[in-house]
Symmetry: C2
Subunit: 216 residues, 2 copies
């Protein structure tokens, strides 16, 4: 059986979508939330949709259940979510899907983050963890539509090539092509492109993604 | 005959590539440079490659020759190039392809720009012009290989829909699909993604581009 994956803040739309796809692929998923009852309730819903193994837990318990932990909280809750988990996340691969999104006068943008990006903020709070950034832009609507074949790529940033490979495996289980783009310092550009894609979605009434050309 | 286009800082690799494609499509191109002799010499080279109409001029003269003016200078020369041309560029559509690229310890990133992006810096210096941002990421090598069919998209940001349409025409003449992404405030994300693509190029030994999925 593939290694389990935990999703902190996993009761939101993006977390549900990731959980549905991963559990359908045969990967056990633990959905973490501040509210464990809500996590269990969402886990039951997702398991019914995917037919896979999905459980719910507190964020802290969820960390203990997997060596790969995905952060899917809103940016506003990121610091408060990860800072108390520095010990639980020690030695683990933490994959940030968090976007410091701002909507000003109806226009999408990203907030300035002192550390450079949401992923680097998490890295600063979790000195004993390895950080990666991925899964920013896959539409939760398309993820939850399990019959939809995803044709977009998932850019993956991490400093260590072996960590990027672990995340590429998660992309494959999601039904997408992961593309290793380089070090974690690129996370700000991956996060920022979300503002572009959300605006494209609105302008063209679609669910846009991006695909890299020029790759084998 | 299609309207001419001027390219300021057009003697660099990106400028040559754009000039070659546009002139081949039948669009007259004026290459501008601080050094008009160099501009004329590069124009002659490009015309020989493309079989099109390409002339060379000072940056100031080039502005007078077209209603659409592309900025293809290095970021470092942007302010000094556009600030003296505020009158010549009055009422024109100015398309910034400029990238505030930085290379620190071998890693690609973008420099912070007080105005938000290179395009918005140009907008601030050119209060009488309409600004757009595009053409950041099309590989000059692939542009100059006139037999190569480009399969990537060119994201186009501008506040005005009609201006975006003018740039989409330029994309078509380049042999690419232009995609209107939204207002000029998105330029920072288009510029920033260059750091991602350059790193992907190095990591995967390719010339990568991006293509939007989910569009008709």
């Amino acid at each position: 059986m593939p290694d389990p994956v935990a999703i902190l803040g996993g009761t939101g739309k993006e977390g549900r979508g990731l959980a549905a796809r991963w559990s359908r692929s045969g990967r056990p998923v633990v959905i973490g939330s501040r509210d464990p009852d809500r996590a269990r309730s969402v886990a039951a819903e997702v398991a019914e949709l995917s037919g896979g193994v999905v459980s719910g837990a507190s964020n802290s318990e969820a960390c203990g259940a997997a060596d790969v932990v995905v952060l899917a909280t809103p940016f506003e809750g990121l610091d408060a979510t990860v800072s108390p988990l520095v010990d639980q996340l020690q030695g683990k691969l933490v994959v940030s899907a968090v976007i410091p999104l701002a909507v000003v006068d109806g226009a999408f943008s990203t907030m300035p983050v002192a550390e450079g990006s949401a992923a680097e903020l998490a890295a600063a709070r979790l000195p004993g963890s390895r950080l990666a950034a991925a899964f920013h832009n896959v539409s939760s609507k398309l993820l939850l539509d399990l019959g939809h074949e995803l044709d977009e790529d998932v850019p993956v940033a991490a400093d260590d090539a072996a960590d990027r490979e672990l995340v590429l495996d998660l992309c494959r289980d999601l039904g997408t092509r992961g593309v290793a783009v380089g070090p974690l310092s690129l996370a700000r550009y991956l996060e920022g492109y979300t503002a572009v894609l959300l605006t494209v979605n609105r302008l063209h009434r679609t669910q846009a993604g991006i695909r890299f050309t020029g790759l084998p």
